[in-house]
């Protein structure tokens, strides 16, 4: 059997929860290969010719949507973007109504960004296509996690490591509402890293230690000790009015990433952020722009390669599944 088929047999990418080490490895390996395409003179390969990818975005995210769009196009897939603005009341209905239309287009892969946790799981029950979760509610954002992993992997050597085993990673800020935090915690634990969540108690998920197998710190100084990687999370400013936090000023004072706090980490520690950054809220400008530490721009570049890899695995995987169904029918 082709070893690659062995490594990735899933029809959908719904989350990092439950992915095995070799499955994560398979995507990261392909992403490495696809990254080269983006530095060629002709940035296009015929890999997904004849495949249809639909980007279905219920939340504004130019960055993620563009990244998926470009990823599909560079592999010669037909890419369709649907941006559905959704009033919160009719959100669910809209999704179900859209589904029939989508099914008629017979897409190979649907990339879904939606404000409700579990929306992509819902889609898998009503559509034949492979589904990529491009962020669902407060649940998961697996491609963001994969690009974070690829970015960390690129810097293993500076850390004196060959893999993620035993690496200390701090995920800081609004963990409760962060899909990035969830996906990264699941994936990093699977890969053998030690993970901590750092942030105010109101922004921690219930039973986090048990669910994610991590440590929780409410004190930023304590949480940053000895870490190799810091993943800062974006703070949704509406949290203030919802009484999760008293003010931006107080938040930055206690949980903002400053140069002094960065000193507490390993000298090689990487600073990551899923973007866009609220400067002076979760991270000080001089830290965000520090070329020796901040890898925020590398993250963006790696996003494209990871999404190419994911589309590749799901398109060809979904095709395999369809072929098998055809044989048995």
């Amino acid at each position: 059997m082709d070893p690659e088929q062995n490594a990735w047999t899933r029809r959908h990418l719904l989350g990092m929860d439950g992915l095995a080490r070799h499955e994560i490895g398979a995507i990261l390996d392909s992403a490495q290969a696809f990254r080269d395409v983006n530095y060629r003179e002709v940035k296009k390969v015929p890999t997904l010719r004849g495949k249809t990818v639909i980007n279905l975005f219920y939340e504004n995210s130019t960055r993620t949507r563009t990244s998926f769009e470009l990823a599909g196009k560079r592999m010669s897939a037909d890419v369709i973007n649907i941006s559905a603005s959704s009033s919160s009341a009719a959100k669910g209905e809209t999704l179900l109504d859209t589904m029939a239309t989508l099914q008629a287009m017979r897409p190979d892969v649907v990339v879904l960004r939606h404000g409700d946790s579990g929306a992509p799981h819902f889609l898998t029950r009503h559509l034949d296509a492979g589904i990529v979760n491009a962020g669902d509610g407060q649940h998961e954002h697996p491609t963001q996690s994969l690009l974070d992993l690829l970015t960390i992997q690129d810097h293993l050597e500076e850390m004196g490591k060959t893999n993620f085993e035993g690496m200390n990673v701090a995920i800081c800020g609004d963990v409760l509402h962060s899909r990035v935090a969830r996906s990264n915690a699941f994936a990093l634990r699977t890969l053998g890293a030690n993970v901590r969540f750092v942030g105010p108690p109101t922004l921690m998920p219930s039973q986090a230690e048990k669910v994610f197998d991590i440590k929780v710190h409410h004190n930023m100084e304590e949480g940053l000790e000895e870490v190799d990687v810091i993943i800062m999370l974006r703070l949704q400013l509406e949290r203030m009015t919802a009484a999760y936090l008293p003010s931006v000023r107080e938040y930055f004072e206690y949980w903002g990433l400053t140069r002094e706090r960065l000193e507490l980490t390993q000298p090689h520690a990487l600073v990551m952020h899923p973007g866009p950054i609220n400067r002076g809220v979760e991270i000080a400008s001089d830290v965000a722009d520090n070329p020796n530490r901040s890898v925020i721009l590398e993250q963006v570049a790696n996003g494209l390669a990871v999404r190419m890899a994911v589309l590749y695995h799901l398109c060809t995987g979904a095709a395999r599944n369809a072929a098998q169904l055809g044989e048995s029918a």
């Binding site: 579990g118 799981h121 649940h139 219930s206």
Partner: protein, 428 residues
């Protein structure tokens, strides 16, 4: 001529928890009323049910049902809902007032009673609203509503959050001996939560609802019962903490009771699985420790009633992402088998289990039902306690199929449901 409201049931195992009776006997129902139970000779002119191997119990009483009519007939009608009741062996249902219009006026009560009488599948006992329009602001005409046929009062679906109004409701209702039923969830703590707060919610990224939301409101209400001396009942209790509070209040001699729903007694938050909207209800499915605490409280008698919170929803209300799905599940047709599951698991003996779905709720609501006493209405359920079947949505009789027990293998099959001597359901 055969008398249709008369019936002879031969050789059933008669279990009547109201009198701690359990033994093989014949039941004679004449003109809709139980005439005699014992070793009898069948009269010549009335139909006979051969009930060898079946258990005959009082027709079941479900004190927490949503029938959706008037106003939400696309979810369920009184005829459809009582048809489902009959299929589940339930001969008496108490219907919650969150209809449109709300049952906060005697005319609505009368309308519901007429509809049920015309349908003829089960006795309907309406529950009136505590506050006008379920707004939580002004008390309803509790006296007039009771005179029109309301057997208890509740704003179910919505908690009565205002302590002052709750105090008045408990106080005022004493004049009529009326029971106040609370949907106990502190809405500030529920927030935008859509499942139990805990490991599963954290993993699924769904906003959680802590047990404290229920514990706090039950504790508050118990203080108000102490203050007023009213009769207070907690609907669909779900948390171990709230059950402990009820037990303490009962020890003090306060008129505090509670019911648990079958789903809270056997399912837990892991049954949400991959965002299964049929596992979404209010209060939510709690964790295994709470389920265990509920079962123990049922065995001890702190929880005296099992009530389904039967809440039909059309498919579209459930075919949406989890957070947007309507709360609630249907339960009338799985009430008996799930209750028997608790018996088979050794949680409580058969007679006590049947009491929780017959005489106990009847007594709380002041109904002369839920017993096989001669002179009482001939409402009987005959079931085979051994027959196995699998719950499927196709097997359900109501309009809505939102069951939390789909694909569950259960034991105990209703064979006949008899309402005032008339067979209203017979298993094929």
């Amino acid at each position: 001529m055969m008398r249709v409201e008369s019936l002879f049931i031969r050789g059933a195992r008669v279990v009547d928890p109201a009198h701690a009776h359990d033994g093989v006997a014949d039941i004679l129902i004449v003109d809709g009323v139980i005439r005699e139970i014992g070793k009898l000779a069948a009269p010549a002119d009335i139909p006979v049910i051969e009930a060898d191997g079946l258990i005959a119990a009082p027709g079941l009483v479900d004190m927490h049902v949503h029938l959706r009519e008037p106003g939400f007939e696309y979810k369920e009608t009184i005829a459809g809902g009582t048809r489902a009741a009959a299929a589940g062996g339930v001969t008496s249902v108490a219907a919650m007032p969150n209809t449109k219009p709300v049952n906060d006026d005697p005319s609505v009560t009368g309308y519901m009673l007429d509809k049920a009488r015309m349908a003829g599948f089960a006795n309907l006992f309406p529950i009136g609203a505590i506050s006008k329009g379920l707004q939580g602001k002004e008390l309803t005409e509790i006296g007039l509503l009771k005179a029109a046929g309301c057997v208890a009062f509740s704003d179910d679906g919505l908690p009565l959050m205002n302590s002052g109004i709750m105090r008045r409701a408990l106080d005022y209702s004493r004049a009529f001996g009326a029971l106040i039923i609370q949907h106990a969830e502190d809405s500030g703590l529920v927030g935008c939560g859509c499942m139990n707060e805990g490991e599963v919610a954290s993993r699924l990224g769904l906003p959680g609802i802590p047990n404290a939301s229920e514990d706090i409101l039950v504790e508050r209400d118990i203080r108000l019962v102490e203050l007023t001396g009213g009769r207070y009942h907690v609907a669909h209790i779900s948390s171990g903490g709230a059950v402990a509070s009820v037990a303490k209040a009962q020890e003090k001699g306060l008129k505090v009771t509670c019911e648990a729903a079958p789903h809270h007694l056997v399912l837990n938050d892991t049954d949400v699985g991959d965002y299964d909207t049929n596992a979404k209800m209010a209060p939510p499915l709690r964790n295994k420790r709470d389920v265990h605490a509920l079962q123990e409280a049922l065995a001890r008698g702190t929880i005296g009633v099992i009530a389904t919170d039967h809440a039909p929803h059309e498919e579209d209300s459930k075919r949406v992402p989890f957070c947007h799905a309507a709360n609630g599940v249907v339960g009338l047709e799985t009430l008996l088998p799930i209750t028997l599951e608790l018996v088979n698991q050794g949680v409580l003996p058969l007679s006590k289990a049947l009491a929780a779905i017959s005489c106990n709720p009847a007594r709380l609501l002041g109904l002369d039902r839920g017993t096989l006493t001669p002179g009482c209405m001939g409402d009987v359920v005959l079931f085979d306690p051994q027959e196995q079947w699998t719950v499927t949505s196709q097997a359900l009789h109501g309009s809505s199929k939102n069951t939390a027990f789909a694909e569950r293998a259960v034991k105990g099959r209703v064979k006949y449901t008899v309402l005032a001597g008339r067979i209203v359901h017979q298993e094929g």
